[in-house]
Symmetry: C2
Subunit: 368 residues, 2 copies
Amino acid sequence: MAQRHLDPTDPTAEVVTGDALAAYLRAQATEFLRALRLHRETGGANGGASARDRSSARESGAVESVDAARALRRSARRISGSLHTFRPLLDSGWSEEIRPELAWLSGTLGLEHAYEARLERLLLALQRLSGVTVFPAQAVTAAAAPEGPGGPAAPDPTPERGNLTVGAAKAGALLERQLTLARTRAHSTALQALGSSRFHAVADKVAVLASEVPLTPTAPTTDLRPLAAAAEERLTDAITALPLVVAGHPYNAEALVHGLSPDPSPHPQDGPWHQVRLLLRLHRYAQEVLHAGNKPVDVRLLAAGQALNRHRDASEAAAAAAQAARTPRIAPATAYALGVLHADQRHEVEAARFAFQQAWQKQIVSAP
Amino acid sequence: MAQRHLDPTDPTAEVVTGDALAAYLRAQATEFLRALRLHRETGGANGGASARDRSSARESGAVESVDAARALRRSARRISGSLHTFRPLLDSGWSEEIRPELAWLSGTLGLEHAYEARLERLLLALQRLSGVTVFPAQAVTAAAAPEGPGGPAAPDPTPERGNLTVGAAKAGALLERQLTLARTRAHSTALQALGSSRFHAVADKVAVLASEVPLTPTAPTTDLRPLAAAAEERLTDAITALPLVVAGHPYNAEALVHGLSPDPSPHPQDGPWHQVRLLLRLHRYAQEVLHAGNKPVDVRLLAAGQALNRHRDASEAAAAAAQAARTPRIAPATAYALGVLHADQRHEVEAARFAFQQAWQKQIVSAP
């Protein structure tokens, strides 16, 4: 599995030293500051209202703000990941101080978007499960077009719900209520975080990093490749421990085992996959450091990463559906729809594992 | 796709005439009468009580009776199917009279077993979804072993339910109630049918068939193979119309579309697959007539048929779970468990289609 250019014993390969790491960290820190400036300019006030409630006047600002938050998290993850992988080359006191702060920032800023995406995923699944195929443009057209004489009368004011059963519609409304509330809270928390002294301390540290990387004295002459190879090895070890043979058999029905378990967090089986997702990311960032953006995107690594993102999203959406079903005093039809939805998302989990297995096996086969 | 020995234009192939059909029908009629005698001897009184309630004294008689009913249906299906495929070779008035009667008999006798199997499938799925793996032997041991001091106290008198959530346990109890009732009714109907003059008329006709097959005058010199080839062509045409490309992509999520549809019979998509199941059976019986039991079992045809049986069973189990969820005044937790169960069985439907596609594609590839 070890790729040729990562082999530290190969004397012909070009040596990449701590200088490359410093350049990468400076570039990411600059990205971070740019995104932060953009985020402040656009106000960062897109939250608290669902996408469809936003007035178009605020729309572009909101979109830019979402992009800025994403860019902020993107560079925070890369800085944090590189500090982890290339730990021995950096001032340990400094990097141990900044890493948890970057993780806190990335987590806090990501939560709002995660709730929004989760709600969207679940509502789309409810429509799919009801045999309704609504494209956003269609929904708008249907809502805007006046009902002609003899045309079908819409009993429901929201046209996209017209064809749902009572149970599916109620389940959708319940999820929307719960996840919008969570999202609004996450938005407030993110706003508070961005105004906090804790955040300003992180921003100051990143500003320093943009010009001055605290390398150890020996770092400029140390080869980065053994550390990058170690990151890759941690990834491949974790993947070896995954039940890939089972995942490679379609319809193994593994992901829904414990689907009705009394355990409130019934999916410890997802843990190793989430872990691989993080290790895959660290491996990708280490490659970015080594190749300084000169290497073409590894399509299969990308496919594997996307499968694991989908795995995580479906796993969390399934948990949200199960959680909503525990709401007291809901109607049986609502609970039934949530049960179908939960199982559907757990099958998405299984499908994502299959997709990962397929992507990863390809990689092994094509390796020299 | 047409196999060589079925090609009616091939002059070197051995000609199979109406005499082979007559021999096959006589053999099946004899089987039918043998099974009927066995069924009368064993009393046919296994129904009305669930498997676990049967006392072991009645056990062997009940098992024999189930076997006898199965053998009765088995030969009834074969007679009926052969009359259909080789219609032109038989006295049309006679065969048009007996075919619906055989279908009625086979359907009436099969219903009781179908309800029993459906309940078993659903209860096993509920246990699987709860992460409980109970093998029948284990369950018996657990029930028989006295609880030692310090051993876990079983709050539930039925140990196999000990680890289910309230929702799963209640869903299981509801399904057991509903399907046992349906099964008891089917048992009474079957008993009534076996005592009816309608049944005696069928039995008399089959008794005549065992010695004397009403062939047309030209049948003994007519080649059976064009008719068998036509049956195979009907099968391959129906399979060509199936969405096999979709089914061949694992996790296509097709089977659960309409899973929450307000339509009470939301799965018209299953129809073509059920139809192929029947046509596959007719093709298999036609092969039996042609080869008089001298041909080894076609493993792939068998695999395809098993996949379609599983498709039918899962489709009907999913419908039973959805139906149970419409019971008034059930608890939300029960409805949730039934929703998960319904989705699980619909995924079984999808898995069965995938299995069929795999089995069938193999067959095409390996054909000369």
